[in-house]
């Protein structure tokens, strides 16, 4: 028998990371748009939260390998199925890439990677203006790509939940709907 829903720890991580990642995107845009003391507060949140997301996505990948994922509805058209698989790969790629690029970008500029107080992470790249520029641009443009992917994801899940009503939303829903608890 295949499972109908993602395992509880998978669902918990999905929603926890959804909040973290959305917060990160807005903090990122906010911090490069201000010269007020809020700038320092936002940067101080951005760095450790990015590393937290990196740790969480590692746990999430392990859970995914252990628990797998519920099968998509059999009647789902092949192009939509392909889109669903590709979007999951894109999400995992971005969740790993964004914190690593950020960490590498700070390393290439020889900035301290401050987690909190005097707890610093080691530098993962040598000082290099060209690497810094490359990674900075990657971080910037991939952030917008990430936001676009989230919008696509939300549109897709609304399509599943409201138009097709095929139970795909329920596989990751944080709670059970009344239909399912019957």
């Amino acid at each position: 028998m295949t499972r109908k829903r993602f395992a509880a720890p998978q669902r918990l991580l999905h929603w926890l990371m959804a909040v973290c990642i959305l917060a990160m995107l807005f903090i990122g845009v906010g911090m490069v748009s201000t010269v007020t003391p809020k700038y320092l507060t936002l940067v101080q949140i951005h760095k450790p939260l990015g590393i937290a997301i990196l740790v969480l996505v590692l746990i999430r990948l392990v859970l995914r390998l252990i628990y797998g994922s519920p099968a998509l509805p059999a009647d789902l058209p092949a192009p939509i199925k392909l889109g669903a698989y590709l979007s999951q790969y894109a999400f995992y790629a971005l969740m790993f890439a964004m914190p690593l690029i950020g960490w590498g970008m700070l390393s290439a500029a020889s900035y301290p990677v401050v987690l909190f107080g005097s707890v610093h992470l080691p530098s993962i790249l040598p000082l290099s203006p060209s690497l810094h520029t490359l990674l900075w641009h990657a971080h910037f443009y991939l952030a917008f790509a990430f936001f676009a992917l989230i919008l696509l994801h939300v549109a897709a899940i609304l399509f599943h939940a409201l138009v097709r009503r095929d139970g795909v939303f329920q596989t990751m829903a944080p709670f059970l709907s009344r239909d399912e608890t019957k």
Partner: protein, 188 residues
Amino acid sequence: MKKFSAAHPEFATFLSWAKSAPWTGSYAEEHYNSLDSFLFVDGSGAAHPIRWSLVPAAQPVPVSPDDLAKRGPDFLEQEITQRVAAGPQRWSLVVTVANPGDPTADPNKAWPADRRTVEVGTLIVQQIEPERDGPCRDINFDPTVLPAGIKTSDDPFPAARSAAYSRSYNSRTAEESYYPRTATGAQQ
């Protein structure tokens, strides 16, 4: 500039200081003052607002602005290079501790001259390196990157400088190829 001064009356404080400040012919004879306030955290965790100054060991020799105008465009760089080559130059790092109520959020407001000062170290300059091949070329001087025990205060300027310098660093490093190291520098 007039419009700017009118919109920022506190700018006049700087202008009047700049007119009356003693002029010297050497970086080694100058005071360097943080202006910005920072917090020093003691062993018990209590934070003390401070401002720091680098006070030169060299005796300042006043030079009139008219005499300075007659010197070459890079005379300060040339002078400090020759001076340091002849012998290391020293500055004392002096920390001025605020009294309760001293303005820390406005670097434009000086503290009374009787505040407690503590000499906490000595800066010894032993070598002058040209910027182009030097180790500081590709890093950002960010006044909010501070060692353990020193924190930013309610002074908003270090945060503003950090945000602006970060942006300028991104632009500067993106144009690095237009400012290559020299052949001799690259071999180092």
